[in-house]
Amino acid sequence: MKKDNSEYLITRDNNIYEVVIGLEVHAQVISNSKLFSSSSTTFGAEPNTQVSLVDAAFPGMLPVINEYCVKQAIKTGIGLKAQINKRSVFDRKNYFYADLPQG
């Protein structure tokens, strides 16, 4: 996004500071199935009834990305007048927690 830089600069003690504000927004995509597995996303189901083998990180299970979610992400970008990159990559972060089966 283009901006007029000078509005966002503050000078103090001979140092120039630039204001940068970021908003991390979590907005759930209303898809039928999950992002990486074909389980349902319906709210209010019994525990573990909408968990697939992929979700539970069973050995040998592989994620396959949801086409609709990708389309929604692109539409969101267009709606925000953002630049849509033709090439995107995934980076995978690992950490250990009981509700993160893949680790």
């Binding site: 039928n32 199935s33 597995s37 074909s38 389980s39 019994e46 609709y68 250990f96 009981a98």
Partner: protein, 95 residues
């Protein structure tokens, strides 16, 4: 690059694998030996080389947004180390 005991303890924490002091010492020796071997890569100038993330030039496959996996709770819980019909049971997480 020398891997010392402190580093071993740090990695041990990151990877959630506990290591006693004796094992940590042996690990440090082994890892240093492996790193000496790996350091060879520094001989190469790779400044303008693109990292290879995928061996095959292909577009990521997109899955149709349809529910296929339905209520397999029994299957999911069958191998669970601690018996419970509905949940996975683990040591208390929240105090």
């Amino acid at each position: 690059m020398t891997i010392d005991l402190k580093t071993i303890k740090h990695i041990s924490k990151l990877s959630r694998i506990s290591v006693d002091d004796e094992k940590a010492k042996k690990l440090a020796v082994d890892m240093n030996s492996i790193f000496d071997f790996i350091e060879k890569l520094n001989e190469l100038n790779t400044e303008n080389v693109e990292p290879l993330t995928s061996v095959v030039e292909t577009m990521l496959k997109l899955r149709v947004d349809k529910v296929i996996s339905k209520d397999i709770r029994e299957k999911i819980l069958k191998n669970s180390p601690e018996d419970n019909e509905d949940f996975f049971v683990v040591p208390r997480v929240v105090e």
